[in-house]
């Protein structure tokens, strides 16, 4: 039995067939659907409600009601409005982090993989050193050392993700550069930089895009986690992780809504990015297109 067939069979055992079918056939659609709703909420929500995310005039720790669907927090701010604002901020930060890490990783990975030899050796040892430290710890330490604000946090997280992208791109480049495609292209007089731009880089896109959507999901989680710990985004700016942190002390006394709603939205964001990533990787590869 081929490996692919075996994986299909195994998956059927664990997941009900309709669910795996949904994930395979409709993962991209579902992921994009959730994401579109979240983006719309982030863009239009604050406008539609017209309320301020820092307004404290709604009564402290009010339970969810028709007036405040997600309730209010300890200083009387509307949790729903703050969640809308927080999604907007978290999406923006995640996009910037993902963009920085992906571009830096692609450039370094292409260079290292195509140059080979000593350059490659040095780059890869540096990558190994960075990857021996867990991503979150590396980002946390970098952010704390360099300064405890939003921009530093973004740079620190992007810095911590870059070696992952470098590895992904380089490994792809190493296999691509050995293809007859490259030799044929050289034998016909194509300059090296054009070979990299035409033949190597585009063939890394499918893995690079899958990786960068993963980065988006990670970035949502890591931004939230760092803000939860008090690094990066500070109160009163609404941020999902910081909101969970603010609400966490009230869970034991029964006011769950302050941290649970931001938590649900973190989960939705991460799930939708993962679905989109998997779906895009299948879709962008012309060989798998039906």
């Amino acid at each position: 039995m081929s490996i692919a067939a075996e994986i299909r069979v195994r998956r059927r055992v664990i997941v009900p067939s309709w669910a795996s079918g949904l994930a395979r056939e409709h993962g991209l659609t579902v992921g994009v659907g959730i994401l579109v709703l979240l983006v719309l909420a982030a863009l239009l929500g604050p406008l539609a409600s017209g309320d301020s995310a820092t307004s404290t005039s709604y009564g402290n720790l009010a339970a969810p009601s028709a007036a405040h669907l997600f309730g209010t927090d300890d200083v009387g701010r509307d949790v729903l409005v703050r969640v809308f604002h927080a999604i907007r901020l978290d999406l923006l930060l995640a996009l910037v982090i993902c963009g920085l890490a992906t571009v830096a990783g692609a450039v370094i990975g292409l260079f290292s993989g195509f140059a080979g030899g000593f350059v490659d050796l040095v780059v890869m040892r540096l990558v190994d050193i960075m990857m021996s430290i867990p991503v979150f710890i590396l980002a946390l330490i970098t952010a704390v050392v360099l300064g405890n604000d939003e921009q530093t946090m973004v740079l620190a997280i992007a810095f911590a993700y870059t070696p992952v992208a470098v590895r992904v791109v380089r490994s792809q480049v190493l296999s691509l550069r050995e293809l007859p495609m490259v030799e044929t292209s050289r034998a016909i007089g194509t300059p090296a930089w054009r070979i990299v731009l035409w033949h190597i880089l585009p063939n890394t896109y499918s893995v690079l895009i899958a990786q960068s959507t993963l980065f988006l999901a990670w970035a949502i989680l890591d931004t939230a986690a760092m803000s939860f710990l008090g690094v990066g985004v500070h109160p009163p700016t609404p941020e999902l992780g910081a909101m969970i942190s603010e609400g966490s002390q009230y869970i034991v006394s029964g006011q769950w809504w302050v941290s649970v709603f931001p938590g649900i939205f973190i989960a939705l964001l991460v799930i939708s990015f993962n679905l989109v990533g998997d779906g895009l990787r299948d879709y962008l590869d012309p060989r798998s297109r039906r």
Binding site: P180, M181, E183, T184, R186, A187, G189, R194, N203, R287
Partner: protein
């Protein structure tokens, strides 16, 4: 090709040294000499590791890092290949010589339509000027290799093996090379498709005046498709001449053994003779003289002295002491 003007490629005394970690250094190609005329089809035959692909790579200067053209001279279209700088070399590649390999599909960019691959090669060599649109250029090029114009919009994975090889030929020819080096171009294709590809190469030679350097281990293909042939063994050209000379009156014991190993329809299949022993490995190559000496039924003491090729009949040269 007797006139110098009709000569396109001349290789003189080409020696390629290969340095490996496990087997040390050795000359995988030594003193290789041959020439190809304009519009001529030349076959380079030999077993795996005999140096035929290394010879071809040396002509386009794309030898692997471990290998180096140590001595000799390569002249292509009147230019000294080994003396060119990198920019001149890039112009020569494609413009004078194109190369196709086995596994045509892996030679194509899987993410680019055939049309774009053709146009980019043409543009690199200044052939995609405004006069013709991209589509027309690609379709002309495809018609030349007998492919329908719809292939222009296809991706490589949508083509069959034979179509992929034709598409690759169209792409390489978009640079208008004068010499096409084909390194086992039909390995992995069935015999019908193989015959079609060779028909195509033959008609391209007639129409475009293209010269062909065919690298293969298949003697029948050389007999059918080439004007002249060089037989390689362990880095030496042991015999060269017109195809009918070499195949009808083989002079070198290796060529004789090679031709004897082909089973014939009339004879008993068991009579097809296998050659004893194997070709010497990199670290077993003798310093001087014949590299076939260990397996040769006619070996003499003087075979291990340095010697050169002799020409027992006009145009038919052999590297063997039997004909001194």
């Amino acid at each position: 090709m007797s006139e110098a003007a009709a000569e396109l490629l001349r290789v003189r005394g080409l020696t390629v040294a290969l340095e490996t970690r496990r087997r040390g250094a050795g000359r995988v190609v030594e003193g290789v000499t041959f020439e190809i005329g304009r519009g001529e089809s030349f076959g380079l035959v030999g077993e795996s590791g005999s140096g035929k692909s290394m010879t071809a790579l040396a002509i386009v200067r794309l030898l692997p890092d471990a290998a180096r053209a140590e001595a000799g001279q390569i002249t292509l279209g009147g230019r000294d290949v080994l003396g060119l700088d990198d920019d001149e070399m890039r112009e020569l590649r494609g413009g004078q010589v194109g190369m196709i390999f086995q596994q045509a599909r892996a030679s194509l960019n899987p993410l680019m339509r055939i049309e774009d691959q053709i146009v980019r090669v043409a543009a690199l060599h200044g052939r995609a000027n405004g006069r013709r649109t991209r589509g027309t250029l690609a379709r002309e090029q495809l018609r030349e290799v007998g492919l329908p114009s719809r292939v222009a919009r296809s991706y490589p994975h949508q083509l069959s093996g034979g179509m992929a090889q034709r598409a690759l030929i169209a792409i390489v020819l978009a640079a208008r090379p004068k010499l096409l080096i084909a390194d086992e171009p039909t390995t992995g294709l069935d015999v019908t498709t193989e015959a079609e590809i060779y028909d195509l190469l033959r008609s391209l030679r007639a129409e475009l005046g293209l010269s062909l350097l065919l690298i293969t281990h298949d003697l029948a293909l050389v007999a059918q498709n080439c004007d002249r042939v060089a037989v390689m063994h362990a880095g030496h050209v042991v015999e060269t001449g017109a195809v009918d000379q070499v195949f009808e009156r083989p002079l070198h014991p290796y060529t004789q053994a090679l031709l004897n190993s082909v089973p014939t329809l009339e004879g008993d299949a068991n009579e097809a003779l296998a050659l004893e022993g194997r070709a010497p490995k990199l670290d077993e190559l003798p310093q001087h003289g014949c590299r076939f000496v260990e397996r040769c039924p006619h070996r003499m003491p003087k075979c291990s002295d340095p010697f050169g090729m002799v020409e027992p009949e006009p145009g038919h040269r052999v590297l063997c002491r039997l004909y001194d």
